[in-house]
């Protein structure tokens, strides 16, 4: 579907797809920080406008994320009933746990 790719930001790709149950899956790969956070927010905004009950964000391919990325996910999490952050790298997982956000982001223990 929508793709924000190398043409606009060589460090970041965002893919939006839907799984069998109709849940939107946003896949973010590369490096996410204050410099490109708005581009990601804009790309995902139409999905949030459809008010999905559940949103999955797959960050398995994300090499770097700063605190503004976490702020973005917290904001998305607040606009859906269930929010799952899938496959975070170990550093990101620990940071989220340390911030007390593990439950909000449905991180598996």
């Amino acid at each position: 579907m929508d793709q924000l790719d190398a043409a606009t930001d060589p460090l970041l790709t965002v893919d939006i797809a839907t799984d069998g149950a109709g849940t939107p899956i946003v896949t973010i790969a590369g490096e996410l920080d204050i410099g490109n956070i708005d581009a990601v927010d804009t790309a995902v905004a139409p999905v949030l406008l459809t008010r999905p009950a559940r949103l999955i964000v797959d960050v398995g391919g994300l090499r770097f994320a700063d605190s503004s990325a976490i702020a973005l996910w917290v904001r998305w999490a607040a606009s859906v009933d269930e929010f799952e952050l899938r496959n975070p790298q170990p550093l990101l997982r620990k940071v989220i746990k340390m911030m007390g956000l593990a439950e909000k982001m449905e991180l598996d223990p």
């Binding site: 700063d66 976490i70 702020a71 904001r75 550093l91 007390g100």
Partner: protein, 527 residues
């Protein structure tokens, strides 16, 4: 063929003239662009320094409202900002009741307010300030001396209060920029309001106005008014080479043309040389490097301006703190630290990190810093302070969240009571052993309102050291655990003085050019 040298000479002079003119035009435009950049930087510096004045008065008014006009608490809160010297914003701060300013100020710190002499004016001004819910700017108050007056009014729940401050301006309204400042070589004039009228002039570096040469200006909001900054440059901003370039081209070109008229064959070759010289000198990568370095130093200056000037000196303990901008430090970050004297042998240590960068992060940082001061002054414990901070930041509205660590230190009992809003745990070192304090961290500030927090109290042996820090110090792109153990090992490997320890940790751990900014704050019992 007598006409050939003459034509060659004419052509040579024409080409040289054109090149010199183009080069001069380029230089002029470049100067204007650089001036524009400097003015924008100065405007950003101004915008970031203004929340200081606004938050101090706003916090003081809120504090008065929450304590129903407690004079002692108000005086104690504003005292650090009144006087002369660095960090002192006001010569006079006073507290007034919004309902009856005719009765004069409830409390005055510093000099007598000039406003006191025109009570009828004060009533109207306070009413306007209360209606705007912003900082009200009354304008310039004249002789004797020259002061700028502003007020923050809160209708509040207990009748309403106004915190009113006056800042002293130099009598001749002149102040030069220091030779070592990032803005050295520039002339400026700062006006109140959006027009450049002489009677609204606050301060300038020049004797005569308007400023000579090309100028650029920026207007930034200031409470219910605005500030307009006009700048011009006394020296060439791009350095002396581009300034001299048109002359160099002119002279070299003319010489070439004269020489070429004797040997027309060599003209093309030399002209290419002159053009090549011009283009190579014009676009130099060193200019970009210089601009980057300058931006970075402005960002650092700004950040340091927003951090405490000096930590309070309290017997029984020693404190030390350092801030370092990240490698991406062309913009200011959102990290801060603070040490607040609670009186009676108590200290409140604060370390925080606002997500994001630039002015939004710095403004939120300043707001949170002063709010913590105000809540602490009215006697709130950190668990309540952190809950209240959630009303000031919202990830949904400002796209920001903040992690904050508060530690209340009882110097005599040697206990530390720690409350964390999603922040990294602090390190406690004693007898050569370092341990991270196990905490139940609450949600970061801004995730949701009404979050509750719990505090963990530990007691420590004599001579113990407490270190709080932000993630820039331990979070490189490797493992967080690894970063934390690296900090612990580095902190326990010798026993130097506290300031040396803090500087060394900053030096050793942020070597990796960390993209993020870093803060480290330490406290050690001296007995």
């Amino acid at each position: 063929m007598l006409w050939v040298p003459a034509v060659v000479l004419l052509l040579g002079v024409l080409v040289t003239g054109t090149l010199a003119w183009v080069s001069h035009d380029q230089y002029r435009r470049n100067e204007q662009r650089l001036l524009g950049l400097r003015v924008r930087d100065a405007g950003a510096l101004l915008t970031a320094a203004l929340p200081d004045i606004q938050s101090e008065l706003a916090s003081a008014a809120e504090l008065a409202d929450a304590t129903n006009g407690n004079v002692r608490k108000f005086t104690r809160f504003v005292a650090p900002y009144v006087g002369t010297g660095p960090g002192k914003q006001f010569v006079s701060v006073s507290l007034w009741r919004l309902a009856d300013p005719e009765r004069g100020p409830v409390a005055v710190t510093g000099a007598e307010p000039k406003l006191g002499s025109a009570i009828s004016e004060a009533s109207a001004f306070f009413a306007r300030a209360a209606a705007s819910a912003k900082l009200g700017v009354i304008g310039l108050l004249r002789p004797p001396g020259l002061r700028l007056g502003y007020a923050f009014a809160t209708p509040g729940v207990t009748g309403g209060f106004v915190a009113y401050g006056e800042s002293q301006l130099p009598a001749d309204r002149r102040s030069a920029i220091g030779g070592t400042s990032a803005f050295a070589g520039l002339d400026y004039a700062l006006y109140l309001g959006s027009d450049q009228r002489f009677r609204d002039l606050l301060i300038t570096s020049q004797v005569r106005l308007p400023l000579p040469g090309p100028t650029d200006s920026v207007t930034v909001p200031f409470g219910n008014s605005a500030l307009t900054l006009v700048m011009s440059s006394r020296v060439s901003l791009a350095g002396s080479l581009p300034q001299r370039l048109p002359w160099i081209i002119g002279i070299v070109g003319t010489l070439l043309a004269v020489g070429a008229s004797a040997g027309a064959r060599r003209l093309t070759e030399r002209r290419r040389f002159a053009e090549d010289l011009a283009s190579r000198l014009e676009v130099s990568s060193s200019e970009n490097r210089r601009l980057y370095a300058e931006q970075r130093s402005i960002a650092q200056t700004l950040q340091h301006a927003l951090l405490p000037d000096a930590l309070p000196q309290v017997p029984g303990v020693q404190t030390s703190a350092q801030y370092r901008a990240g490698a991406r430090g062309v913009e200011i970050g959102g990290d801060w630290y603070d040490v607040i004297d609670l009186g009676d042998g108590g200290l409140l240590l604060v370390v925080g990190d606002v997500s994001g960068r630039g002015l939004p992060a710095a403004t939120t940082m300043a707001t949170l810093r002063y709010a913590i001061h105000a809540y602490a002054a009215q006697g709130d414990p950190p668990t309540r302070i952190l809950t209240k901070l959630s009303d000031l930041v919202s990830v949904a509205d400002n796209h920001q969240l903040a992690t904050v660590l508060c530690a209340v230190v009882d110097i005599e009992r040697r206990t530390i009571s720690i409350t964390s809003a999603g922040h990294l745990p602090p390190l406690v070192i004693s007898g050569g052993v370092g341990e991270y304090v196990e905490l139940k961290a609450g949600l970061p500030v801004g995730v949701e309102t009404g979050t509750s927090y719990t505090s963990t109290t530990i007691s420590v042996p004599p001579g113990a050291t407490f270190l709080a820090f932000t993630d820039g110090l331990v979070e490189h792109r490797d493992d967080l655990e690894q970063g934390l153990s690296r900090l612990r090992d580095a902190a326990t490997c010798d026993d130097t003085g506290l300031p040396e320890l803090v500087s060394r940790l900053m030096e050793e751990l942020s070597y990796d050019p960390s993209p993020d900014d870093s803060v480290i704050l330490g406290l050690r019992w001296t007995s």
